[in-house]
Point group: D2
C-alpha cells in the first residue's frame, strides 16, 4: 500500500484500501476509434450489458460524438446591503467592458483556467455569481475556485460593501441535482449518437426497432416526466457513469449531475433502422488530479489512452474521456432498453447478481 500517494493528497486517516472489481466492455467503436472501457462495479450484468451495446454499435458502423461545451463552474454568494446594490454588482460583472479586467484576475493563478463567463442570479440582496472556465485536463474545481478567489479580492476594491458569505452558494452546482447544470451545463457537455441497423437490433439485441422506440417514449420520456425527473430522462446513465468514474479515478460523488442525460430513440430509414442518442450536459471529468494518480486508476486511464495531461493539446485527454463516457452510456442505454423490451431484466439479474453463499438466502 503506497501511503505516499495518499497522505496529504486524497485521503486522511487511511486504514487501507477497498477493492472494486473492474470489468472491461467493448471495444466501443467511437468516432472511428476502438476503446476498451474499464468499469468498476459490483452490479451483476452491467459490464455484460454495456458490452452487448458496444457490439451492436460496432456492428452498425460505430457511434459519433460531439463536445458541445467545456466549462467548470463555481458560484460564490455575496450579500450586499441592498438588492439595488446587488443588482449593481451584477451589472458590473456582466458588463462586456469589464470582462477583460475580470478575466485577467481570474486567469492569473493557472496556466489552464480561462474565464469564459459570469452568470448572475439574485435572491433579494444575495448575489450568486456563476463563474465558468476551461480547465485543461483537470476536472477543475480547485482551479475555478482559485480564480474566483482572485476575482472576489479584486471586486472588493470597487464594492467594499460586499460580504462574501461563501465561496460556494449552491448555484455552481456541485453534487446536487439542479436545473442550472441541466440548462447551462457543467464540465463537458456531450451528445453521442449511433444508427443501429435493423438486422443488428434483431440479432444482437433480440428485439425490434418499433418496440425500442415505444419503450423509450413510455419510460424515458413520459415515465420520467410523470416521476418529476430533473435531467433524468434515461434508463440507467448513472450506472455507466459511476462505474467509469470509479475505474478512472474521477469523483464518483459528482455522478449526481454527470449522469444527467436525455436518451432519444427514433426509427429511421423507413422504420428499418434505429437512431439513438444520449445528450449529457454535465460530465465532470479530468485526467490529472484527484484519484487519477493512484496506480490502478492510472492504469485504467492508460487503457483508454487518456492518462495524464495532454501536452500537445491541453485539455484533449479530458475531453476525449468525456466522449468515452457518453459513448459508453449510449451502449448501456441501448442494451438495457433492449433487455427491458424483451423482458429479460429480472431473469438476468437473478442469474448474475446473487452470491451462492449468503445472498441467495437473504434475498429469497
Amino acid at each position: 500500500m503506497d501511503y505516499q500517494a495518499i497522505l496529504g493528497q486524497c485521503c486522511e486517516m487511511p486504514v487501507g484500501f477497498v477493492q472494486l472489481p473492474v470489468g472491461v466492455a467493448g471495444p466501443l467503436l467511437l468516432d472511428g476509434r476502438h476503446y476498451h472501457v474499464p468499469m468498476a462495479t459490483t452490479e451483476g450484468c452491467l459490464v455484460a450489458s454495456v458490452n452487448r451495446g458496444c457490439r451492436a454499435i460496432a456492428a452498425s458502423g460505430g457511434a459519433d460524438s460531439v463536445l458541445l461545451r467545456d466549462a467548470m463552474s463555481r458560484a460564490p454568494v455575496i450579500k450586499l446591503p441592498t438588492a439595488k446594490r446587488a443588482a449593481e454588482l451584477k451589472m458590473f460583472v456582466e458588463a462586456p467592458a469589464n470582462f477583460q479586467a475580470l478575466a485577467a484576475q481570474f486567469n492569473k493563478s493557472s496556466r489552464f483556467g480561462r474565464l469564459q463567463g459570469i452568470q448572475c442570479a439574485l435572491a433579494g440582496r444575495n448575489l450568486y455569481m456563476r463563474f465558468t472556465c476551461s480547465t485543461g485536463d483537470a476536472m477543475g474545481m480547485n482551479m475555478v475556485s482559485k480564480g474566483v478567489e482572485n476575482v472576489l479580492g479584486y471586486l472588493l476594491n470597487n464594492f467594499p460593501d460586499m460580504d462574501v458569505i461563501s465561496i460556494s452558494g449552491n448555484y455552481c452546482s456541485d453534487k446536487k441535482p439542479t436545473a442550472v447544470n441541466w440548462i447551462e451545463g457543467r464540465g463537458k457537455s456531450v451528445v453521442c449518437e449511433a444508427t443501429i441497423k435493423g438486422s443488428v437490433v434483431q440479432s444482437v439485441l433480440k428485439t425490434t426497432v418499433e418496440k425500442l422506440v415505444e419503450l423509450n417514449i413510455v419510460k424515458n420520456l413520459a415515465g420520467s416526466a410523470v416521476a418529476g425527473a430533473l435531467g433524468g430522462f434515461n434508463a440507467h446513465a448513472s450506472n455507466i457513469v459511476t462505474a467509469l468514474f470509479i475505474a478512472t479515478g474521477q469523483d464518483p460523488a459528482q455522478n449526481v449531475e454527470s449522469s444527467q442525460c436525455i436518451t432519444m430513440l427514433e426509427a429511421v430509414n423507413d422504420g428499418n433502422d434505429l437512431h439513438i442518442s444520449v445528450t449529457m450536459p454535465s460530465i465532470e471529468v479530468g485526467t490529472v488530479g484527484g484519484g487519477t494518480c493512484l496506480a490502478s486508476q492510472s492504469a485504467c486511464l492508460n487503457l483508454l489512452g487518456v492518462k495524464g495531461p495532454n501536452h500537445d493539446s491541453p485539455g484533449a485527454n479530458a475531453k476525449l474521456l468525456a466522449t468515452i463516457v457518453a459513448g459508453s452510456v449510449l451502449a448501456g442505454e441501448l442494451s438495457l432498453l433492449a433487455a427491458l423490451a424483451a423482458g429479460q431484466l429480472v431473469k438476468s439479474h437473478m442469474k448474475y447478481n446473487r452470491s451462492s453463499k449468503d445472498v441467495a438466502k437473504a434475498a429469497s
Copy 2:
C-alpha cells in the same frame, strides 16, 4: 484476487481490481453508540472534515436519528387499450379490498419482501404502478422486482388486455433525480439531528452560530432554490453518501437519489447553541447482496457492526446502516458549512488535495 467472489456474481469480464483508499472518521456518537465510519474516497479533506464534524457532535452529547420509512420501490409501466381501461386497472390495484390478494402474490417469492402499497400514475393509457415493500437487510431491488413480476402475472388474469411495456417505467425511480423519490421516499427515510453547543462551535468549528445559520439559509435553502434544485438543499451530502457507499459495498450509482437531503440549521437556547438536522428520504442500502460480499467491503461493514443479515431482527442491520449514513452526512454538513463560513475551503483544498508530482503542475 478472488475471482470466485466476482464471477457470475457482481462483475463480468473482470481484468482486475481498482483500489480506493479508505479513511476512518469518528467516532460518530449516534443514538448513544460510537461508530468508526469508513469512507472510500480520493477527495482530499473529506475524511478530515467529517472527522471534525464528528468531534463537534461528540463534544455536544451526540446526534439522534429516526427512521421514518423503509420501502424499496419498483414501478412497471403497462399500456392498456384506453385511458379508461388504465384507470380501471389503477382502481383495481389501489382498492383496499384487493390488497390481500395482491400482497399474497407479491410476497410469495421472498421471506423478507412484504408489499406495503401500490401508488399509480397515468400518462394517458400508460399506467405506472409504483410497488413499495420492505426488504429485510437487502437493498432490495431484485426482491421488489420479483414481487412485481408475480403480481403482473396475476393481474393478467383479470386484465388480459394489459401490455407490460417494461418492468421499470422510471416511476420507481432508480438512479435518476426525481420528485417521486423526494416526495414518497425510496429505501430508508431518515432524519438525524444534533444540538451543537455554542462553545463547541467556537472551539472546534472556528465560527459562530449566527454565521452558520445565515450561511445555511443563503446557500442551502435560497441558493439551491435559485439553482432549481430537486432535493439538493444541502452542502455536500453526496460526498459522504458516496464514500460510505463505496466503502461498504453499496451501489454508488444510487447516490443520485440516496444523497437527496435538506439540511436545516437554527439557533436555539437563546441563540447560544446550534440545532442542525439532515432529512434524507431515499437512502438505499443493504448489508447483504451486491458488493457487500467482497472482502474489504465486508470488513468495513464489520467495523460498523452491520455485516450480513441480522438474524434476530431481520432488516435491523440495513436500517442501522442508513442511520449511520445520515449521521455521517450530519457531521459532514456541519464541518463543511463551518469551513465555508470561516472562509477556509479553498485554502484547505489547496493544501490537501494536490499531488506534489504532476497535479500541481497541471493545476497551477
Copy 3:
C-alpha cells in the same frame, strides 16, 4: 353594478368591473354529451382553435374522461422541539388506528368535507402535514382549512409542545408549481382521451397523424424535458384552463397547478388514426363559492349545466366541470399541435390578434 354581490364577499375597495369577452367553443362531445364551452380570453385564435379541436373530436365520435381522484389539500407546518418529536407526531397522525378520531375532528365543521388522508414530510424538526379531503361542489380551500384547524386544536392535547408556525407550510401547495401536486394531485385528477380518425386529421386539422405524433414527442415530451419542466408536458393547457376558469368564476391564480398536464399522442389502428390524451392531476374547481356567484360567471356555469350545488349527488357538478376542463384542454392541444405541425401559428396570430388601431403600429 351589484355591489351587494361583492362587498364582504369577494372584493374589497371595489371601484368597478373589468370586462373580458367570452367566446363559446364547441360543442364539445364528451362522455356522450355536448357542451358549449365558455372561454373568457383576449388571446386571438384561442376560441377558434379550441372550437376546431372540438369539431375534430366530435367528427371522431367524441372524447371520454375519467375522474381519478377528488381531494383538496392543506398542509400546516408545525415546529416541534426536536426532529424525534416531529417524527412522533408524524407517526401519530399517520397511524391507521388514529384515523377515525382525527377524521371526526376534521369533518365536524362541514357537511361535505370528509378527511381522506394525511401525508407528512419533515424538514428537521418542522413537520408538514398534508391533509386531503373531498369538498362537495366547492373548490374547498376554506373547507379544508377549517377542518385542519379543528384537527390542530385536537392534536394540541396530545402534543402540547406543538408550535403551529402556519396553517399553510407550502406543502399544500396552493398557487405554486410543485412536485407534490404533480405526484399526489390536488383538487380533481382527470384523464381525458379521444381517438381521432385519420380522415378527420386530414380534413379538419390539415395535417397527418405521423406529423402530430412526432411533434408531440419532440415538443411536449423532449422539449419540456430539456426545458426542465415540472408538469408542463403540454402545448398550452394553461390557455384553456385560464379562459374557462375566468368564465366560470374559478380562481385563475390556481391555474399554476390546475394546468399541469401531460399530453400524449400515438398512432393507432395500424397508424391510420390518432390516439390523444391529456392527464391532469390538479384541476381545482368548484361550482359554489368564490366568483361563481357573480351574474355573468353564473350564466356560464349554467350554460354548462353545472351551476351551484348538485343536491342529488353533492360534488357531481364540480366533478363534471373538471372533466369539461380536461376535455376542452384536449381540444385545445389537438388544434394547436395541428396548427404547429402545419406551420400555421405565426400567420394566424398575425391575422387575428392585432388591433387595426395602435397595436399594429406598436408591434411592427
Copy 4:
C-alpha cells in the same frame, strides 16, 4: 358591448362579457412614486391584504425596485439529419461572428424587437434555439415569433437539411412551469425590496420581525423545498400577479411563469427592522396589444400611468408595469405572511369570502 374591439382582435365567437370586480389597493409607494393598484379578483381578503401591505411599506419609507433583464423568448425546434449536424447549427447560431447577420434578419420586421441572443439546447438531433429580444411596450410574443421566422428562413440557405418541426419547441417556455425561465428569465426580471420598521411590523402587521423571518424560512424556503417547488418560493405571488394581469389586460395564462418568485425576509438593524424582497425573473407584461385595448383594462392601465406605448422612451411603460407587479407582490407577501404568523388566515377567510346566500350552506 363594443364588438368592434373584439372581433378579429382578441376573441372569436363572442357571446358577451364576463365581469370581474376591480378593487384598488394602495397607494403603493415604489421608487418614490405612489401607485393605486387595480386588482381584478373574486378572492375575498386579497385586495384588503395587499392594501395593508402597501400601508406598511409606505409607513416605512417605500419600496425600491430594479429591472434586471428585459427579454421575451421563443424557441423553435429543428430536426437535423444527425446530432453532429444539429451541433453544427448550434455552433453557427451561437458564433459571435454570425450575430450581426442573424440580428439583421431578426430585427427587420419590427421597430422594437431587437435580438439579444440565441441559446441552444440539444436532445439528440433535435435542436432547440431560444431567441431572446427586447419588445418595446408590447409583451412581445408575436414580435419574437416573427423575428424567429425571419431567421429560420435565412438559416435554411446555409442548412438546407433543417426540418422545422415547430416554431415553438417548449424551450421558450410559454405558460409552462420550467427551469429555463426560472434560470434565464422571460419578459421582465425584477427584484423589489423594502425595509419595514419594527414599529410598523407591530402596529400595522400585528406581528414581530422574528416571527416573520422564521415563517419565511420554514414555509417559503424549506416548505417549498420539501414540496419540490420550481420557482415557487413564495406565499401567494400568483394571487397578485393574476389580479393585476386581469385588471390591466395582460394574458392571465402567463401567470404560470410570471408568478415565479423567491421571497426573502431578514432581520436588519440589530434585529429591529425587517428587510423583505421579492425576486421575479419572468414577468411577462405589455401596455399595448392583447387585452390592453379593451375599455376597462385600458382605464386600469391609465390609473397606473402606463397606458399604451411610451413614445419618449419605448418600452418604459411595460417596464414600469413590471416593477409595479413586483411591488404589489411585495406588499401581498408581507401582508399574508403577517396574517399567517398571527394566525389570522382562516378567520379572515371565513369572514370575507363567503356569500350569505348559497356558499355558506355549501361550505358549512
